[in-house]
Subunit: 330 residues, 2 copies
């Protein structure tokens, strides 16, 4: 499986959202594979970009601070790239509801604009787009495969659904090779912990390290998780697989876990701490999706990908990282 | 079934796209039912608005020329309305591909903005949104019911899909009562005939009256059609049905017909003319959806709606109208 990653050696790769949690891990791996990496990131404080994520990489890649909404910088930057890993996005449910227009600008308009720039200036580029399991909404059955209906439950989900489809459309109509990965909950070193804009798990880790109890809403809901290194593998394998053009794949975890169990695992990894169960707030209850976990058979069959890092191992690594680097993520 | 339409008497009704083909017929019916109607239309030349469509109505309703992208006019106009029939949209496949951003502004951003204005200034309004069967893409089975996957094949389809989901979301999260109708091919007096921006049938009628042969692409594809009066009925019945809140319904025709057969019917109705079969152009072939016809059982069961006007009768009425009013639609 790793052999196909040799394809990245000496290739020009652009990562939008490259200073973010996933983007920076992807950049590190690509640098180690010998790729010439350009990171594009807006460093908007509410989003995931953080210079700390690339402190070991600054001499080894290009960092271009700009916004995917800036069509002119995208036009310049996309030229000559072999791969585009398109990870930039607004990810917060709450922000998408309080300011739906900004979510639309980033998750729809900027995506269309990036694709138009590819069509006009670099139609041979290979694109992998980071979509999300959020667009499935409340599961009709479990585990969810890619044939499951899409029933997004917030503005962010609707816009991400459109953003994903733009990519597939440009693949189908204009032959710009694009794939989409519907990511599930992702965690690891460098994840956003200062608030719940990416995942609730980030806030849990912050509470733990600050000595506060972890607030678990509900607690019995089942979820699946991917350690960030596994997500990086999925992105890179998809990027080199010709069969993946025009395809949408779920990622999924190596196991499912209840939120309560996950809280217990975090506490065990940290060595101390406590959690408390909080009843679901009324305004959240309306958009609660209950249990969720994915069927990732499709990407497994077509690229060989599967999640390799166990939840215990991943949680340990993550908590250890934040113990060392806590102040850079507040 | 008509009894429920008495609910519109003396009620305040706003119709976006009200000078367009469907909007103007809807306005006429509402005026006859005793509603106080405000038409909102941008009169953008490439879209469906045409003052000729309301020549008999000007004294009986309010006409406000403005654009759904103009948030401030929407904010003012939505206040105090009991019903919003939200029909304004960019409908052209070709325009959505050549200028995806304008399609996004109208079919996504303006829809979000209208819904935000409802949420802030008139959360009790009842909304019916005009969606489209285009978002299904190429059928996986026939007839297509509402459980069919959405696989839009152009930018317009993706944006209309998002626009529909914003309405359902605002219903589910904020309790703003909204329904969406996925319209199939619609025809009747006042349809756009000067180009194919609404339907190919419009162009056929123009060719016929100008003495040119009708160009039929392919010819064997099956389609269903609704006469505009049936669509107006569906919109009005949906607007008064409480069970319809948060629902999406297909409309569909009373029969299916091949395009070749339809061309023959048009020629029979006009009394003369001819058609020629044109092979599908290569750039269109990629997005050709083959046969399409809908299952409209869901709206039938919940509102009693069914299409009453036969295709022969509807085509006759339509062609007769354009014989009398041709010059106003060129």
């Amino acid at each position: 499986m790793e052999n196909s990653l040799l394809a990245y050696k000496n290739r020009e790769v652009m990562i939008t959202g490259g200073l973010g949690f996933i983007g920076s891990h992807l950049a590190r791996k690509l640098v180690s594979l010998g790729a010439r990496v350009t990171i594009v990131d807006s460093l908007i404080p509410e989003y995931g970009g953080n210079m700390r994520n690339v402190k070991d990489l600054k001499e080894k890649l290009q960092i271009n601070i700009s916004d995917v909404r800036d069509m002119f910088s995208m036009k310049f930057l996309i030229k000559g790239k072999d791969f585009l890993f398109n990870l930039a996005g607004q990810t917060s449910h709450m922000d998408s509801m309080s300011d739906p227009f900004t979510d639309l600008e980033i998750n729809c308009k900027a995506q269309l604009s990036i694709l138009e720039m590819c069509r006009n200036y670099n139609p041979g580029v290979r694109i992998v787009y980071a979509s999300t399991r959020q667009i499935y909404g409340k599961p009709e059955y479990l585990p969810i495969d890619e044939k499951h209906h899409l029933h997004p439950v917030d503005v962010n989900g609707i816009n991400k659904m459109a953003g994903e489809w733009y990519h597939i459309l440009y693949n189908n109509v204009y032959g710009i090779s694009a794939s989409a990965l519907r990511l599930t909950n992702i965690y690891g070193p460098g994840m956003r912990i200062k608030d719940a804009r990416q995942t609730f798990l980030g806030v849990w880790i912050k509470s733990l390290i600050e000595g506060n109890p972890i607030d678990v809403w509900g607690g019995e809901q089942l979820r699946d998780f991917n350690f960030v290194d596994d997500v990086v593998d999925a992105i890179l394998l998809t990027g080199t697989e010709e069969k993946a053009a025009g395809k949408i794949y779920n990622l999924g975890g190596e196991r499912t876990v209840s939120l309560k169990e996950l809280a217990q695992m975090c506490i065990a990894a940290y060595g101390k701490g406590e959690y408390r169960i909080i009843p679901f707030p009324a305004d959240r209850k309306k958009i609660d999706i209950g249990d969720y976990y994915a069927d990732y058979k499709s990407i497994n069959q077509e690229t060989g990908w599967y999640p390799k890092v166990s939840l215990e191992q991943g949680i340990n690594t993550t908590i250890h990282y934040f113990q060392e680097n806590f102040s850079f993520y507040l």
